[in-house]
Symmetry: C2
Subunit: 232 residues, 2 copies
């Protein structure tokens, strides 16, 4: 705790704010909004970048068309009741307000102050329509269910921030947006998986209060084994 400061001198011009209270560096405006079908080309590129990052491109078979038909089918259920995508956009200028008000959700705006400007070599291909914003990341989640709580929760399948936007708090913003939505809807839990060797991520999750279920193992039945077992 700092020593008690002497009483401040009377302010001659109260309207002037001390310079060291002014934000230094660069302001970046960010917005988290619900993705729509017109965002599919960006979502497809983001998922592909994630597959490259995870060295799993051999497992990647999504196309723009298959993403459109499964994430945004005709007669889509309302957001949050099925597969839901939040997009993270960043811009040098403030975002206009958009009409995207679902029950319990409005786009989230935050201004982030950075020491250095961000150089985005892929800005052109991630340009978001309608303003000077670019798409910087996404989170895909859907409801899951706890029988012990008799409550839904959210399961986060993917969370991804493009390389030049990492280590600036954007991943935490996406995760927090899902947690906030769960809390608003009275849901009991938010869950996701992490690789056991990713110690930095595990440390980050534990510091924010998440439990890591050390004894659980995910089992997966897919491909020919799924077809064969389906016919038992």
């Amino acid at each position: 705790m700092a020593a008690a400061a002497p009483p401040p001198p009377p302010s001659p011009t109260p309207a002037i704010i001390s310079e060291d209270l002014l934000p230094t560096g660069y302001n970046v405006f960010s917005r988290i909004r619900l993705a729509t079908i017109v965002d599919v080309p960006h979502i497809h590129k983001l998922i592909h970048q994630m597959a490259v990052f995870e060295r799993l491109t051999h497992l990647f078979s999504a196309t723009e068309s298959s993403l459109s038909s499964t994430l945004f089918p005709e007669n889509s259920p309302p957001p949050f009741t099925s597969f839901t995508v939040f997009l993270l956009e960043v811009s040098q200028t403030p975002f206009p307000l958009i009409d995207q008000n679902y029950p319990n959700f409005s786009p989230i705006h935050k201004t982030v102050n950075l020491d250095l400007p961000i150089t985005d070599p892929q800005a052109e291909s991630f340009r978001s329509c309608g303003n000077d914003a670019v798409v910087a990341g996404f989170v895909l989640f859907f409801p899951n269910y706890s029988t012990f709580l008799a409550k839904p929760g959210f399961y986060i399948e993917d969370i991804f921030v493009r390389e030049c936007y990492r280590r600036k708090g954007f991943g935490k913003m996406l995760l927090s947006a899902v947690a906030a939505q769960a809390a608003k809807m009275g849901y009991g839990r938010v869950e996701w998986v992490v690789l056991d060797w990713n110690v930095n991520a595990i440390k980050f999750y534990e510091e924010m209060g998440a439990q890591v279920m050390q004894e659980w193992r995910v089992c997966r039945l897919t491909g020919d084994a799924l077809q064969a077992f389906a016919n038992v």
Copy 2:
């Protein structure tokens, strides 16, 4: 491989089937059907028995009322698009056909031949309405999503068979019913979790062709930590 058998003597009366080909023991009729809101009292008891089995009753807070409102809300989405429960019923007599035909799903009937009859000390409290059947188990599952495949799958939250019905193939029948449903709907995967010390279960799952994702750890944000992080 057994030695070649001598040719069989000509059958004097081909209509008579050799006695050792006749089923011995006891026939039990089983049915897997979609649960409805009237099954909630049974589902509640089954979940409670599961909590006792897992020594997790301190985490059990479901009530019949909370299960009804979350599993079978007003304007429920169609089965398989959200939280879905298959009930396993068994009976000494064949099941009547019921009118429960959803797209791609009709109740599954199987006759199981057992060496010994099953003594069910809780038969009265698990009596299923409308016939002499009892509820013997359940599986609760819901859609999940793979971004790499751009396909939905099913996640099995719980699978449970009451004690006196275990080790008779009923668990496998429930799991297979979910796999069959996934295959019919063109879904890519069925996933669930298992405890790492449950080596018998892991062996069983691996033998049926499931992969156990050894490096994955489930993270869970719940309770006060969820509320706190939601306000970041």
